[in-house]
Each structure stands twice: as structure tokens, then as C-alpha cells.
Amino acid sequence: ISGSSSVASMKKVVQQLQLEAGLNSVKVSQAAADLKQFSLQNAQHDPLLTGVSSSTNPFRPQKVCSFL
């Protein structure tokens, strides 16, 4: 009957919330500092960030050769 299925689905909602409430989270200041550090540390390996010269980026136009 609809009664018991509401109880069943409500139980699932409570279980899910209990799961989420049980997580140990870190402070945003710590998490944000880690994100910042990761990006800065990997910045030099990020071609779209640093810009890559035409000779090494296959998508950038290369020097044009002309027939003499």
C-alpha cells in the first residue's frame, strides 16, 4: 500500500543523509589552499595556460615555406 512504500523511501532518504552527515570534511581554507597549490605547481606543464610556440604546438600555424 502507498503507506509502506513512503516509509521505505523515507528510510532510504534518512540513510543517505546519515551517510553524508558522517563524512569528515576539511575547512575550505585548507581545501582551497590545496587547489591553489596544485594549479600553481602544474602551471608550467599547462600548454593552454603558458602558450606554446608554433614550432611545438601542432595546431598553431607554422612558418610558411614558399617555393623559390
Binding site: 570534511s25 581545501a31 594549479s39 593552454l48
Partner: protein
């Protein structure tokens, strides 16, 4: 009987109040940890300079809206799928089409390249995910070799060869543990449907793009939203997002035909890219991060660098 029904109602009521209590507790805990915003932590980080990013290749060939695309691990091949029912594999360096498959349905909404580079998966309104081995033998009929790998009860909207750990559904972004099949975290701060989610390269966070015209960054360890990427002038939904290799840049394609490039740490927009003549529907950064590709309802794909 009457007493049973009464018992049911009491249980339901007590469960509901327990749920409300837990929700309140979660909010309280999240608020306690919210001691600062990401852009404040990044205040003294050097600002990014001007970006010169242009369309370097335009891939033309689809007869209708491009719905999805994916890069091959070889950093040059791209697979794209379209409302015209075709799945095309391109060599993005030369813009040549290497393979083309016609699906038995239109609206091929999802496609993905196998990590081996030897096959592609795609699906859409046919409710199936099919895998096609890629062959260069002209005598082989690609369609004849296709294998169905999954039957869904409704249309396929996304497929990926690696276990996709995330799902944006409606306004909620949910993170799933693939081993237990459980949802371990849920975030509901967007004001409208989420169209795209992508992990930050370190795996500790993810970005989302939504119909509410914003992109947001959620940190999994802090268990909350840590940044919003928005501007008053941006009023159209973001359809697809992806990070540059270091995670410093977030590329987002929008329904107003533009691509906005955001400084993930500082929360500011560093560039706006024009070129597409209709909605941007899909966007992925190449595996080596040298370029990114966008697909659009204007029937084309553009490679930017």
C-alpha cells in the same frame, strides 16, 4: 487495519523529522567549515595575462547539430556525433574525415573514444550504447562489426570508456562510489539544470555548467561549493565545461554561442571566444592540453589553441 495505518504514519512522521534534523546538521557542519572563499585564498596569486586563443581548425561535415565529441589518446583524432545520425572520426591536424558511421537513429547524443584508440562508442535515441571497432580496411564495413554493449530504458545521453564517477542530474550534482554503487556526496546549489560536470585534474574537486548561466566549483574534501563563475552579462546556460591541464583555466561553452575562459582560482573571466554560429553543445580539452575542441549546433567543430 487502523492500528497498522496509525503505526505507519508515526514511522513516516518520525523519519521525516529525522531527515529534517540531518539536513539541518549537514548545513551547520558545512557552514562551520566555510571559513573563506577560494578567490580570497588566491588573492595574492599573480593575475593571468591576455590570452590569444583562436580557432585553428574548423571541422565541417556534419549535416546537423553536433551533440558530442571526444578526443583520442593520440591527441589528434576526434570522434563527434550529431543529430544527423552520423558519427565521424576526424584527424584534427589535417581536418580529414577518417571514418564515418551512420547510426540507425538521429540524435546521437553521446560518443567516446576508446583509450586504445581502436574503437568508438556511441548512442542516443536508440537507447543503446554501441561500440564500433575502427578499421582502415576499405573493404570492411564498420557498421557490420558493431557490438551493442548496453541497453537502456531511455536515450543515452553520455558514455565514456573509463568509469564515469559523476552525474549531473537536474540541479543536483552527485558523486558516486562505483564499487558500492552508492551516492557519497550531493551538491545542490545551482538554480537550474546542470548540463555538464568535469573533475578538476587533482580529483579533489569538480566543475559544473548549468542552465542558470553559471559554472561552479565544488571541493569534495570541503564538501561544498567553493567558487561561482558568473557575470551579469552572461544570461545563457553553460552547456559544457572542461579544465586545462593544471586546472587553472576553466573553458565553458554557452548557449549564446560563445566560450568563456575562467581563471579558476581568482573567479574572473580571462577571455571570451567568438566563432560558433549557434549554441556550443560540447567541449573537451585535448589529452596533452595543447588545444581544446568545441562542437556546436552550427554543425561544426572548432579546435582552439
Amino acid at each position: 487495519m487502523a492500528t497498522e495505518a496509525l503505526h505507519e504514519n508515526e514511522t513516516l512522521a518520525s523519519l521525516k523529522s529525522e531527515a529534517e534534523n540531518l539536513k539541518g546538521k549537514l548545513e551547520e557542519e558545512r557552514a562551520k567549515l566555510h571559513d573563506v572563499e577560494l578567490h580570497q585564498v588566491a588573492e595574492r596569486v599573480e593575475a593571468l595575462g591576455q590570452f590569444v586563443m583562436k580557432t585553428r581548425r574548423t571541422l565541417k561535415g556534419h549535416g546537423n547539430k553536433v551533440l558530442c565529441m571526444d578526443w583520442c589518446k593520440d591527441k589528434r583524432r576526434i570522434v563527434s556525433s550529431s543529430q544527423d545520425g552520423k558519427v565521424i572520426v576526424w584527424d584534427s591536424f589535417t581536418t580529414n574525415k577518417e571514418h564515418a558511421v551512420t547510426m540507425p537513429c538521429t540524435w546521437v547524443m553521446a560518443c567516446a573514444y576508446a583509450p586504445s584508440g581502436c574503437a568508438i562508442a556511441c548512442g542516443g535515441l536508440d537507447n543503446k550504447c554501441s561500440v564500433y571497432p575502427l578499421t582502415f580496411d576499405k573493404n570492411e564495413n564498420m557498421a557490420a562489426k558493431k557490438k551493442s554493449v548496453a541497453m537502456h530504458t531511455n536515450y543515452l545521453s553520455a558514455c565514456s570508456f573509463t568509469n564515469s564517477d559523476m552525474q549531473g542530474c537536474d540541479k543536483k550534482a552527485m558523486v558516486w562510489d562505483m564499487r558500492s554503487g552508492q551516492c557519497v556526496q550531493a551538491f545542490e546549489t545551482h538554480e537550474s539544470d546542470i548540463n555538464s560536470v568535469r573533475y578538476y585534474p587533482s580529483g579533489d574537486a569538480f566543475a559544473s555548467g548549468s542552465d542558470d548561466a553559471t559554472c561552479r566549483l565544488y571541493d569534495l574534501r570541503a564538501d561544498r561549493e567553493v567558487a561561482i563563475y558568473s557575470k551579469e552579462s552572461i544570461i545563457f546556460g553553460a552547456s559544457s565545461v572542461d579544465f586545462s591541464l593544471s586546472g587553472r583555466l576553466l573553458f565553458a561553452g554557452y548557449n549564446d554561442y560563445t566560450i568563456n575562459v575562467w581563471d579558476v582560482l581568482k573567479g574572473s573571466r580571462v577571455s571570451i571566444l567568438f566563432g560558433h554560429e549557434n549554441r556550443v553543445s560540447t567541449l573537451r580539452v585535448s589529452p596533452d592540453g595543447t588545444a581544446f575542441c568545441s562542437g556546436s549546433w552550427d554543425h561544426t567543430l572548432r579546435v582552439w589553441a
